[in-house]
């Protein structure tokens, strides 16, 4: 029986002939915050989406809280209730208000009564600092506010694990901070989190462990200070150089093979 909150064994995923994940083994302990970084197309979002089965793995196993997600006989809806997911594009339900976005899933999925669902909604909106936007529609909010509502919506379901898929990538730079602040508090409260991100300062400060992926495999992982601060692998160093100081590139690089860089 796996002791970890998330356990991934020999995970492979192909889209047609394109093998996006080529054998991933990864554990996330209860209460641990793991940031997954890597160039676009490295398979990090696909990895995250395999954890709650938004993508069906081609091979391998995924366990969440001891339940095998990849088991064909598992009640996937029941497993997903324990996994909160936050998307790059927020994906709030645009036709209902902020409060209704939080209430609807509690009522329909958890069968909570109206009063209880409303109370939980209020509590979680308060948690992300948006209590005063309770009656607004998603389109009336800024991107940062929408993302915080999306986090509150996931939290209202009482998840054991939170997955973040590039939660700040679609935001204007000045709105990123509010979202990261909410995530930082959540990490401090002991939530188990798996975060795909390009925010290196967040990874360095909040992550217990950073995983660097490239070409569908985990190239390097370890404490944030080591992977981001003193990477051992050439590919990690190249990626970090590009991301931390994009203007430093002397001439356009072909990114493949990575040895050509710099």
């Amino acid at each position: 029986m796996p002791q970890n909150e998330i356990e991934i064994r020999g995970l492979r995923k192909s889209f047609g002939d394109n093998e996006v994940l080529r054998g991933i083994d990864l554990e996330v302990a209860r209460g641990e915050v793991v940031c997954v970084i890597g160039p676009s197309g490295s398979g990090k979002s696909t990895l995250l989406r395999c954890v709650n089965l938004l993508e069906e793995p081609s091979a391998g196993q995924v366990f969440v809280g001891g339940t095998e997600v990849t088991d064909l006989d598992v009640d996937i809806d029941a497993v997903r209730r324990r996994i909160g997911m936050v998307f790059q594009q927020f994906n709030l339900f645009p036709h209902i208000t902020v409060t209704e976005n939080l209430v609807l899933p509690q009522r329909r999925v958890l069968r909570r009564d109206k009063a209880k669902a409303a109370a939980v909604a209020r509590e979680n909106l308060d948690r992300v600092g948006l209590a005063e936007k309770a009656d607004a529609y998603p389109a009336q909010l800024s991107g940062g506010q929408q993302q915080r509502v999306a986090i509150a919506r996931a939290l209202a379901m009482g998840p054991e694990v939170m997955l973040f898929d590039e939660p700040t990538s679609a935001l204007d730079p000045e709105l990123v901070g509010d979202v990261l602040a909410v995530m930082r508090v959540l990490a401090g409260e002991g939530m188990t989190m798996m975060v795909v991100t390009h925010e290196m300062s967040f990874a360095r400060e909040v992550a217990d462990r950073v995983v660097f992926m490239d070409g569908g495999v985990i190239v390097e992982q370890g404490p944030a200070a080591q992977v981001v601060g003193a990477p051992r692998e050439e590919r990690t160093r190249n990626f970090l150089n590009r991301i931390l100081d994009p203007a430093a590139e002397a001439r356009p690089t072909s990114h493949l093979p990575p040895e050509d860089d710099g």
Partner: protein
């Protein structure tokens, strides 16, 4: 000589000719038309008086009832066909595809004759529930469902993929996500085209003419035709036409408003 004209002059000449032709045609019609005869045939005032209130309380009312019952039936059936068209089970998709092609490819009149004549002949003793109203709802609804199914399918597919993913990752089953999240958004998208369909149905309800109806069941077209032949005068047809326009023109206006609003929201 034309080459001597400035651009402004040339534009003025061109516009002048177009207006002259327009006025000329109007004057010709005005002079040639037999106005007394026209008024006598199409706008006989005492005959207009006799049409009311029945043309409103019976004919227009029936037209509205037929249209709404056909629309309601078509909407439910159309939603089912649209969901079948999107099903992961291939036979459902085939059946829905065949249904849509069949009923869009046949004249509505043929469907009406089928429902009104062929079915009672083929299955004697079976009654379509609701009498004439049931038959009309069935005939209009079967045709409307085929068009609405395609509209609704497009609406469902226009809802971003992330909406389903968000709902599923919150623990919604696929069916529950459809009902609670996707379909409500799809309907917002398809309200303008569905209103358009309502206008089309409103006019198609005139096909009831071919079903054989009692006096109390007559709708606008049948009523207008009956009274026109009774009185050997075309005025009832004109009045019936105006009754259609009273409904279709405002509805079309609403559709344009809705479409404009949807465009702005995008």
């Amino acid at each position: 000589m034309t080459s001597r004209l400035t651009r402004r002059q040339r534009r003025r000449v061109s516009q002048g000719i177009q207006y002259a032709v327009f006025v000329g045609v109007l004057v010709t019609i005005g002079v040639l038309a037999d106005w007394d005869r026209l008024q006598n045939q199409f706008a006989q005032t005492d005959l207009i008086g006799k049409l009311f209130p029945d043309i409103i309380t019976i004919a227009l009312r029936n037209t509205v009832v037929y249209t709404l019952s056909g629309f309601a039936f078509g909407l439910v059936l159309g939603l089912v066909v649209a969901l079948m068209r999107l099903s992961s089970v291939a036979p459902y998709r085939w059946v829905a595809g065949i249904y849509i092609e069949l009923f869009r490819g046949l004249p509505a009149l043929l469907i009406f004759i089928f429902v009104g004549v062929a079915v009672p002949l083929a299955f004697p003793g079976t009654e379509i529930p609701g009498g004439t109203y049931g038959k009309v709802a069935l005939g209009l609804g079967l045709v409307a469902a085929a068009y609405m199914a395609e509209t609704i399918r497009a609406g469902i597919q226009a809802v971003p993929k992330g909406q389903m993913e968000a709902a599923r990752s919150l623990g919604f089953s696929h069916a529950r996500a459809m009902v609670s999240v996707i379909i409500p958004q799809a309907f917002r998208i398809v309200i303008p085209p569905l209103t358009n369909e309502l206008v089309l149905l409103f006019k198609d309800s005139s096909l009831v003419l071919f079903l054989g109806v009692t006096l109390e069941e007559r709708e606008l077209t049948k009523y207008g035709r009956d009274l026109a032949s009774q009185s050997a005068n075309s005025t009832p047809i004109l009045v019936a036409g105006l009754c259609y326009l009273m409904v279709t023109v405002p509805l079309s206006f609403v559709v344009r408003r809705l479409e404009a609003r949807a465009d702005r929201a995008r």
